[in-house]
């Protein structure tokens, strides 16, 4: 359940500009802005009404503009219910959707109105859902929090970061899930790598036997095998990084288009690349040592099958 005020604003558009029916979301005006926002919630039901002498302006998001075929300067009627009386307004701006992860799954449109107009439309009086307060620095934030929480009985002030932490719980869960999947993938990769290296080393039993018989030391054979494993791991991880960048681009393009958001779903940071390469190297060298030990402990003649 949303803890904020539910507002259903019916956006009455020309019949030919029908739009899907998304769910509604709360309005949330703030004192540092002269505008309020709400999300349209209903399919259009009537043609544009006659323009008022000086219609006020609203801003709509680009998805609504695209789906409903609206442009800056168009006049529409907004009301709180599909068949209720509304206000004729002019579209003053088309805005880009915010990169807000919490809105991804909600297929909603967003309309921003002037605060007093929204209050009047929904019969909300001089009430608001929340205030946003800008402070100069972190010390001022602490002072403001203390002052508001002491003075305004019945209200509570929160830091924006605290609210962000609270609302990002969903993404923390997804992140934990991804980490668990990552661990399973790493275990699978390690087993795969070890298996491949064992096979590679086994293939060279005769070569190694010959090297040992002409006097090459066990340590040299071991070093060469480990070095080869490290080279394979580095090469593989570099290829993997390249593949990662390509798939990351595909993921961002696909989900960006699916959810129509500028949000980036996959970000490859230098830290992630370094972690991947180092992990791959450690796994590769570990697998190489295991495979090489097995090989050098076997007598050369046994390696030759005699």
């Amino acid at each position: 359940m949303s803890i904020l005020l539910p507002i259903l604003l019916a956006l009455h558009l020309p019949p030919q500009a029908r739009v899907p029916q998304p769910a509604a979301s709360p309005a949330s005006p703030s004192v540092h802005s002269t505008s309020a926002y709400a999300t349209s919630a209903h399919a259009p039901s009537s043609a544009t009404s006659p323009a008022a002498p000086a219609p006020r302006t609203i801003a709509i998001d680009d998805r609504l503009a695209a789906d409903a075929g609206l442009h800056v300067g168009d006049q529409v009627v907004v009301s709180s219910t599909p068949d209720g009386p509304g206000d004729t307004v002019r579209i003053g701006a088309i805005m880009k959707r915010n990169a807000d992860p919490s809105e991804i799954a909600r297929n909603e449109y967003e309309v921003r109105l002037h605060l007093d107009q929204l209050q009047s439309l929904i019969g909300y009086g001089d009430r608001v859902d929340r205030f946003a307060v800008a402070t100069r620095d972190s010390a001022a934030t602490r002072q403001a929090l203390a002052a508001i929480n002491q003075a305004a009985f019945g209200f509570h002030a929160y830091r924006s970061t605290d609210i962000a932490v609270e609302t990002s719980e969903t993404f923390k869960v997804v992140s934990r899930f991804h980490r668990a999947i990552g661990v399973i993938t790493i275990v699978a990769s390690a087993v795969f790598l070890l298996c491949i290296l064992l096979l590679k080393v086994d293939e060279r039993r005769r070569d190694v036997a010959a090297l040992r018989l002409i006097g090459i030391s066990r340590a040299s054979v071991m070093r060469s095998v480990v070095l080869e494993a490290a080279a394979v791991a580095v090469l593989g991880s570099l290829l993997g990084v390249g593949l990662g960048f390509i798939t990351s681009g595909i993921v961002n393009a696909y989900y960006g288009a699916l959810y129509r958001t500028p949000l980036r779903f996959s970000i490859i940071t230098p830290g992630i690349v370094l972690f991947a390469v180092v992990l791959s190297l450690v796994l590769g060298i570990g697998a190489g040592i295991l495979a090489a030990r097995r090989l050098v402990r076997t007598p050369p003649l046994a390696l030759l099958g005699r």
């Binding site: 259903l8 029916q21 769910a23 709360p26 599909p82 869960v173 999947i181 699978a188």
Partner: protein, 395 residues
């Protein structure tokens, strides 16, 4: 004979066979988890929706049930209209809201449902009586824990807080008649249910007879979608959402998990396939001399092919069986992680075990195991016998 030779061949390199089986097992575990994830959430949600027997949910047009705080006015008139349709068996109105229970040093906020006890479909009574009288409520264990109250106690319940008067508004003294388990709520969320009219009066929704949702149970043999279409025609300000439509909405909202399951399931299958192919190919390369000898003494091509296919299949089947057991354990762990999703009903499982999922995973792995043996067996069957024998003898 064929299976004996195949097993002997696998036993010859026991350590790498073991590693391959382990690799296939991990791939199989991941595959099973992803098959469970791709279908589990939808099935789990479907079971939740139909568990109380209501096939249709009516919410304010443009919204999903309890997705916003929008309400439907004139609930009584709507219920009367719905009852005129012979296909409608039961209508259950529900109003949602928040109530506060003042305590000495704090206030407990709780989700509240206004229901008609005789037809409600939101909770199962676990202890005590239902909230049939106007001054009673039923509460869940989380509410009782948060307030320290017990069944039979009387608690002060307020609908809101007036910051100007600095007092609670619409405060009532209600008796906790029973303890209930709420079907659609997440675990850890305090919740109460009380008679619809009581909550309407407390929250100022009585005058317009507002409700958040109407749940409709249709008669047996009736198509709920046709009743939904009739409701949409009769009531332009509400929309009837059938179980199918609700499932479609869930599919759309959580499509990420389904797509992730397809991608990771596909990758697991490919990894398992490559592992078995590599192992069997190398194994064939190592014993081309043996194969050439077998062919020279009269063993047929089909025999050789079958033996190598058996090797690939054996690794896949043993790995798959181990992987299915491993997959159940990892699915449980992953489900525990995802069950922490805020607001998710506690009865929803992302990874729901269904025998069908296990059969699909097992079938895919067996097919991939057989396919993995195709290339090496073709290679073995097409060896030039005389040349291979000569080369092996020289080597």
């Amino acid at each position: 004979m064929r299976s004996t030779l195949a097993l002997a061949s696998l036993r010859r390199s026991a350590s790498r066979t073991l590693l391959a089986v382990l690799g296939v097992a991990i791939a199989a575990a991941m595959l099973l988890d992803m098959v469970m994830l791709s279908t589990g959430l939808r099935e789990s949600f479907r079971e939740l929706l139909v568990s109380r027997g209501f096939q249709l949910r009516l919410s304010p047009r443009g919204t999903l049930p309890f997705d916003t705080e929008a309400t439907i006015t004139g609930a009584g008139r709507i219920i009367a209209l719905l009852r005129t349709n012979p296909a409608v068996a039961t209508v259950s109105p529900v109003l949602g809201g928040t109530v506060h229970v003042p305590r000495a040093d704090s206030t407990v906020a709780s989700f509240a449902l206004g229901i008609v006890p005789s037809v409600q479909g939101d909770y199962e009574l676990a202890q005590g009586r239902d909230a049939t009288a106007a001054n009673t409520l039923v509460a869940n264990a989380d509410f009782l824990r948060a307030t320290g109250a017990h069944v039979g106690d009387t608690v002060r319940v307020a609908a809101g807080y007036n910051p100007q008067l600095r007092s609670f508004v619409e405060e009532r003294r209600l008796v906790i008649a029973g303890r209930a388990r709420f079907v659609y709520l997440s675990s850890g969320e305090p919740a109460v249910a009380m008679p619809l009219h009581t909550l309407q009066e407390m929250t100022g929704n009585a005058q317009d007879d507002r409700v958040s949702l109407l749940m409709v149970r249709t008669r047996e043999g009736v198509d709920p979608d046709s009743v939904g279409a009739w409701i949409d025609r009769q009531l332009p300000r509400v929309q009837a959402i059938s179980t199918r439509q609700a499932l479609d909405e869930v599919d759309q909202r959580l499509s990420y998990f389904r797509q992730l399951s397809y991608i990771l399931g596909g990758v697991s299958l490919v990894v398992g396939f490559l592992l078995v192919t590599t192992l069997v190919t190398v194994s064939v390369n190592e014993r081309v001399g043996e194969i050439a000898v077998m062919r020279a003494i009269g063993v047929s091509r089909a025999h050789v092919v079958q033996q190598i296919l058996l090797e690939g299949s054996a690794i896949s089947i043993v790995g798959a069986v181990l992987g299915l057991a491993l997959g159940l354990v990892t699915a449980r762990y992953l489900n525990t992680i995802l069950s922490d999703f805020p607001g998710l009903p506690s009865r929803i499982d992302f990874f729901l075990f269904q025998p069908r999922a296990a059969w699909i995973a097992l079938g895919l792995l067996v097919v991939s195991g057989i396919a993995a043996g195709v290339y090496p067996s073709w290679r073995a069957a097409s060896l030039p016998v005389a040349r291979t024998l000569r080369e092996e003898a020289v080597a």
